[in-house]
Amino acid sequence: MMAATRQPLAEALAGLTTWDGETPGLWRHALDSADEHATAARSQTHDWRRSMLGLAAVIVVAVVLVGIMLPSLGKARSAARFVASSTGDLSEKMVDRSDVGDDATFGQEGVYRYAPEFDRYRGSELGGGGGGQSPFQDKSVLGRQVERFDAARININTAGGGLMMVSSPDDQTTSSRHVVRKAAIQLQTDDVNAAYTLARQLINSARGEYIDGAVIRDNDQGQPAAELTLRVEAARLDDVLNELRKLGKVIQEGTDADDVTDRVVDLEAQIRNEKGVEEELLNLLKDRQNDKLDDILAVRRELAKVREQIERLTAQRTQYANLVSLATITVIIRPDEVKPDEPEPEPTFWTRVGGDFKDATLNGVDALFATAATLLMILIGGLPWWILAAACTALIWRHWRSAHPRPLPE
C-alpha cells in the first residue's frame, strides 16, 4: 500500500517540475532586457553613491555637533562634580566637641574637630577656616575644665590684621597700684601644632595659672591655625611673652593696662564704712535688748542689708584682685604664608578647546568604563537567562532559516 502510494506522489511531483512543449525562448528576451538591467544597475549604483554621500554628510554633521556638544557636556559634568564635592554634607563637618566637654580633666587627651564654617568663631581670626581635626592634650591647671571651646570665651577679633584684647587684668601685687594687664601676640611658624603645644606648656599651674581657652583648626588653605588665651601670673607676663616670641616669627604684639587702683580703693573704703555701720548696729542690738520687738527687728533688717552690701563689695574686690593677679595673654599662631599661586593666564581659545576636549575625553572614558561595568554585571548576573534566550533564539532562527534559506552561491 505504502509503495503504491509513494509511486503516484513521486510521479505527480516529477510532473510539477516537467515543462511540456516548446520553450518560449526567454533567452532572447533576456538579451533585450540586458541593456535595461545594465542601465538600472548603473542607476542603482548612482543611487547607492548618492546614499553613501548623504550618509557621509550626516556623519560629518553629527561628528561636528558632538564635537561642539561634548566639551560643554564635559564642562557641565566637571562643574557638577566640583559643586557636589564642594558642598558635601556640611552636617558631617560640624564641630563635635564631645571629646572636650565639661568632663575634660587634667591630662586628658582627645581630638578637636571643627568645621570649615564655624559660626561661633566667625568673628575671630580663625573664623571661616577650613575644617579638620587636631589632637590635644589638656595640661591646664589642676585639671580644671578650662578648655571648653566656648566661643563666648574666645572673643578675639583681629579682622584687618589688628588685635583686640578681650579682657584681662594684671596686678602689680608688689606695688600699691592695682593694674589689670593684658597682652596679645600673633605668631607665624611653619609648625603650628608644635608651637601650640609649647605655648600651652608655658602655663605654671603651681602658680594658679591656667588656659582660659584654646582652639586649633585648619584655615582656608587647609593648614592648622591656633588661638590660645593664657592666664598667667602678672609678674610673669614679660617672661611668658619672651617665651612666646621664641615660638615663631612675631607678626603683631601689643600690651595694654587698665589701672583699677581707684576702684579698688573706693571699694575698700566702702567696705570699711559698711563694716563700721555693721559694728554700730551690732552694738545697738547688744545695748537695747529690752526694747520693743518691732524696734529690734527693724535693727536686724538694717543689719542684714548692711551685711549684704558688705558681701557684694567684698566680692567685687575679690574679682578685681583676681583680675589684677593674673594677666591675660591672647596668642594667635598662624602658619607660614603660603605663596599665592600665580594668577592663571587668560585661557586662549585653543587652551579652552584643549581643556574641554580633555574633560570630554575623561568623561567619555568614565562613561565607557561605567557602561562596561554595567554590561558585565548584566552579562554575568543574567547568565541563566542568556542561555535560555540563546536556546530560544536558536530554535526560532532554525525555524526561520528553514523558511528563508540563504541565497545559493552563484
Binding site: R6, H29, A34
Partner: protein, 176 residues
C-alpha cells in the same frame, strides 16, 4: 560542452546563450514553475531573469560546479526572490481587500492541490523535494545545487514527503 558555450557567452557571443537555453531552459522552467506554485508567468519571469544574470556573470563563473548546477542555483535564487515578492503582494492585497475576491487560479496551474501542499512546505524542504523529483537531475546533482550533503538532502526530502502526505491525505486524488 556547457563550459565552452558559457565561455563564448562570456566572450561576448550572446548568440551562444541560445545554445545553452536549448539544452537547459525547459528544465529550468519546470523547476521554476514547481517552486512558484505552478505559475507559468512567474516561472518565465524567473528564468528570463536567470538568463540576464547569466549574461552579466558568465565571466565570473569560477567552474567549481557544473554549468548546469550553476544555472539551477541562479533559478532557485530568482524563484526565492519572486516568491517573497509575490507573498508580500498577496499580503498587501489581502489586507487591502479582505472581503474581495482573490485572484483567479492560473489556468496553467497543474495539480492545484499538490501545488498548494508543496507551497506549504518550508522552503528548504520544498526545494529538496522538487529537485529530487526533477527528471533532469540526479540526487547528487540536486545536493550539489543546494550545496548540502546528500544525506541532508534525503532527510529533507523524507521530511517534506511526510508532510505532503499529511497535507494531502485522502483528499488528494493525485496520490491515489
Amino acid at each position: 560542452m556547457d563550459r565552452q558555450i558559457l565561455q563564448r557567452v562570456a566572450g561576448g557571443e550572446h548568440g551562444a546563450l541560445g545554445e545553452l537555453a536549448a539544452r537547459h531552459e525547459a528544465a529550468l522552467l519546470g523547476l521554476a514553475r514547481g517552486l512558484l506554485g505552478g505559475s507559468t508567468d512567474l516561472a518565465e519571469e524567473a528564468v528570463q531573469d536567470a538568463w540576464v544574470r547569466v549574461l552579466s556573470r558568465a565571466g565570473s563563473f569560477n567552474g567549481d560546479a557544473s554549468v548546469k548546477t550553476w544555472l539551477f542555483r541562479i533559478v532557485i535564487n530568482r524563484c526565492r526572490d519572486i516568491g517573497k515578492r509575490e507573498a508580500r503582494r498577496l499580503r498587501r492585497e489581502t489586507h487591502a481587500a479582505p472581503t474581495g475576491e482573490q485572484d483567479e487560479p492560473d489556468r496553467h496551474e497543474l495539480n492545484g492541490e499538490l501545488n498548494a501542499a508543496v507551497m506549504k512546505l518550508p522552503a528548504v524542504q520544498r526545494e529538496a523535494v522538487l529537485l529530487c523529483h526533477h527528471r533532469d537531475l540526479t540526487h547528487t546533482e540536486a545536493a550539489a545545487v543546494l550545496g548540502i550533503p546528500e544525506g541532508t538532502l534525503k532527510s529533507r526530502v523524507r521530511a517534506g514527503l511526510q508532510r505532503l502526505r499529511r497535507e494531502l491525505g485522502d483528499e488528494s486524488g493525485v496520490i491515489r
